[in-house]
Symmetry: C2
Subunit: 534 residues, 2 copies
């Protein structure tokens, strides 16, 4: 059972996909630009979907024996080899005080210590509040939250090709994520705004998320003071008291796999958890480079790294909201590049989700990952082969769920909306089975009988508008009709869709006083230091 409200599509015509933000094509123009925009979207504001609460079971692939073996090996790694906490004397002191064996920057842990620390205080799930309370998300349990691509320095679209990302691109992706009903989260670095100085970029990024979306967001982690700026901006946006007592940020703390955390990530982690804000502690692993080539070895090492980071967060701030993360890919032994959508990382992903459930913390992994340079069949095969296991494994927070291209070097406009369409399908899949009397449809089967068809029967007439997920990208016309309409491929249709979405975009309301205060804070911060571009 799910308690997620089903969004009733308000679709003015058969041709308008129910889930398409830009659908309808002006068929119900009612005069005035606003009304035309609304009509193009299908008669009202974007019908946002609530985060997923899975009504189907998680898929489990590794048996008890295997899970226990991996957990034992993780403990062996923590005990014998240990984890390095680099450049952070406070972290080493915290570990020494907690009873770990600290030698230089190497920390070794008695068996079971990290697990005990985590299980004592870490919440099994938590709420991340958005500035629009309807967009708040629940992270953990049977819930899944989709967030967009994170980190690419480049963008690509069919018109202008591949190029460095600019702030305008960043804002465009924030807008597209806002317009996509099944993207529940605004994410973080949806692309790197390379036209903004490195030391000021975070200010424009956080502001863009707050101004152009009302979905929850991720904070800067590139320096402790930038993490602090992020928290300060959230206090302006959502109120000092509210931020003091609620989680309004979830930020990405990557381990430097193998078995290392650096001072930048540790510094950002400490800022966030001390403010009660969430962190996703993520071993970033290409099997064969940052971990062994084998699945079982990778799982044990990743679990060890994650547990050390999560336990550290709990020591700094008991009860802080934390997420166990895992970025899992395999190394191409030919090119040295990461590969995606392949079976070995999927075996890692599905088992790791179960390990996180056994540990008792939310899990982040997967996404719509691919190595392709183009939004072509390779991109789609690899993305779908990552997304489906991500969802059925029960991943709670899915970064890179839309837009990821070229191993994460590129945020793709076309792929963003193609992936968003797939997310909409996952939303329906996870809703599971309607076993109501109406859905059993015995009366319809009686009415139609052998050899007839169901097109015109009462049950079909009553249900067809909402019966099936309607893709925003797929062409299901006849071959002849498809040819008449130009014989476009999926990427070409996606190109039209993202442009229509941006054209239809309207910013969510924001209190003018809050907006001014945010801008004022940013102005003062920017004025306080010279530009730095590295």
């Amino acid at each position: 059972m799910t308690d997620a409200p089903e969004t009733a599509p308000e679709t003015p015509s058969d041709e308008a996909p129910a889930d398409a933000p830009g659908a309808g094509r002006g068929r119900r123009a009612r005069g005035g630009a606003d009304a035309r925009r609304a009509a193009r979207r299908g008669g009202g504001p974007v019908q946002q979907q609530r985060f997923i609460t899975r009504a189907i079971p998680a898929y489990r692939t590794l048996n008890e024996e295997g899970l226990a073996l991996v957990e034992g090996n993780a403990d062996t790694i923590l005990e014998e080899i240990g984890i390095e906490f680099r450049g952070d004397a406070e972290a080493l002191q915290i570990w020494a005080d907690a009873g770990a064996d600290v030698q230089g920057e190497r920390v070794r842990f008695p068996r079971g210590m990290c697990r005990q620390i985590i299980q004592k205080t870490a919440p099994r799930e938590f709420t991340q509040h958005a500035r629009n309370p309807e967009r708040s998300v629940q992270i953990g349990g049977d819930n899944t939250v989709f967030a967009p691509v994170y980190g690419p320095p480049f963008v690509r679209d069919l018109d202008k090709g591949r190029r460095y990302a600019m702030l305008e691109d960043f804002q465009n992706f924030v807008k597209l994520a806002y317009m996509a009903p099944s993207i529940h989260h605004s994410g973080g670095t949806v692309c790197e705004p390379t036209d903004v100085p490195v030391n000021k970029r975070h200010l424009d990024m956080v502001y863009s998320h707050l101004r152009y979306s009302d979905k929850p967001l991720m904070g800067s982690v590139t320096a402790p003071e930038r993490a602090q700026d992020t928290v300060d901006l959230m206090k302006i946006a959502m109120g000092e008291d509210f931020v003091a007592n609620n989680t309004v940020l979830v930020s990405l703390i990557n381990a430097n796999s193998p078995m290392t955390f650096d001072d930048t990530m540790l510094g950002a982690l400490k800022v966030y958890v001390r403010h009660g804000q969430g962190v996703i502690v993520t071993p970033f692993i290409m099997q064969g480079a940052m971990a062994p080539v084998s699945v079982a070895g990778t799982l044990a090492q990743a679990l060890a790294e994650a547990m050390a980071g999560l336990a550290f967060a709990q020591l700094v701030q008991p009860g802080a909201p934390v997420v166990m993360g895992l970025f899992s890919s395999a190394l191409s032994m030919q090119s040295g590049a990461p590969t995606f959508g392949s079976p070995e990382p999927n075996l890692v992903l599905i088992a790791a989700a179960e390990l996180a459930r056994r540990l008792g913390v939310p899990f982040r992994s997967g996404g719509s990952l691919c190595g392709s340079k183009l939004p072509d069949a390779q991109a789609a095969y690899e993305s779908a082969q990552t997304l489906f296991p991500t969802v059925v494994a029960g991943v709670n927070f899915v970064l890179h769920s839309a837009g990821w291209l070229e191993g994460g070097l590129v945020s793709s406009y076309e792929k963003f909306v193609m992936d968003a369409d797939q997310l909409g399908m996952m939303q329906v899949l996870t809703r599971g089975y309607d076993l109501s009397e109406d859905a059993q449809a015995l009366d319809a089967i009686r009415e139609v009988g052998p050899g007839k068809h169901f097109l015109g029967c009462a049950h079909t007439q009553a249900n067809f508008q909402t019966a099936f997920y309607r893709s925003t990208i797929a062409d299901n016309n006849s071959f002849e009709q498809w040819e008449v309409e130009g014989g476009l491929d999926a990427a070409q249709r996606a190109n039209k869709l993202w442009k229509r979405m941006l054209a239809d975009y309207e910013a969510p309301a924001i209190d003018p006083g809050v907006d001014e205060a945010l801008q004022d804070f940013i102005r003062r911060k920017k004025d306080s230091m010279p530009d730095a571009f590295s």
Copy 2:
């Protein structure tokens, strides 16, 4: 645990994908055309993969309550509405003799009757023998067999576009399936050879499977006498006694959903099961047209239809090898075309696999299905979104696992090899977890330690050649290298691959006397009747 032998790649260079039949590009030319061909393939004959024996659990999504509800509703449909057996007086007599309520062509069944008939005599799994015993497949249980696309009247490739399929195309697809290591079965109508008269086509099709492949095949079902011809050809190919005592054919018997079997299909079914040959009884359903728009309604109707067909097969020939089939798609309410890779058919597919297990018969469904007109991102998203659930649901026989395009109207050369690559990945995924001491890799983790990399460590060196599935299609080079190599998309690379495979193709050996006898049989059959083209 799987008992499937791991195929050791014999890869002459880092650049040659281990699983690519056409890989290697002549790097080890040893003189002579045979040696060159062998070298192009990586130094030997194609490294065929055995059918899959899943070492990971089946994914179950519908709970006991839901499954029992569907089973009860299927019984209600069989009892109250019944199934029509059209144009086949013998079938009606068989049902009357068995105690069913026969009125006209409508047959109604006491609750539980069909299930009891099936469970009394139908085998839970069976072997389909190929003329090469190493290629025989086990259908049912934890096994999965991949067979190519079935039925398209058109073919498409990047060079010549979309056109009617010819016998040469048919033979090409048989050759490609023979060359694809993870396609375990030669299939049936891989495309319609429209240049051969309709009434003689089956002879050339069966011959092509027997001559150009040594993998198991499917028989003709378009008329009882063509089914008999198929059996007779198999007797020539594999020996009369052998065929009398073993299953050498598995053929596709579609229900005319809703709730109807026609005389053509019933006639072919009777021929096959009376010879101890296998049939796949398949409700062919577009939700909204041949069944209700709802998942629960579709499941109940499909189960009712399949049980009626399977029970009929058992009445005709107790113990005959049977497979419960289900072709599940959703109807586009805009175009009337089937849609694929969407969540509703996937919910049907995964639950139906469990219903078949409860019934105790092998299950056929899924594949690499899509509605796209091109081998583009739509095709790949939809195919992957069908194939992954197909495999993890535990489908035993996967028709359409490669080459399917445009809702089954087109066999695509490029998509065939792209899909075959995905099948190779499924082969690795289903092998599950290696928990050996070597795979645990604790020594490698000890050797490398924090902050270093695993590229050069002993464990990586010992394992990297076989550690990861190597895609035959994906480009994982750097962006710059990819550009230098022409900036090709996946379909363009696939175009090169299938041509290389056909160029490298060598027919499996066949006894010249057998070949002559097959040709003689076909010549006499063809001479015995005038051509018919409809």
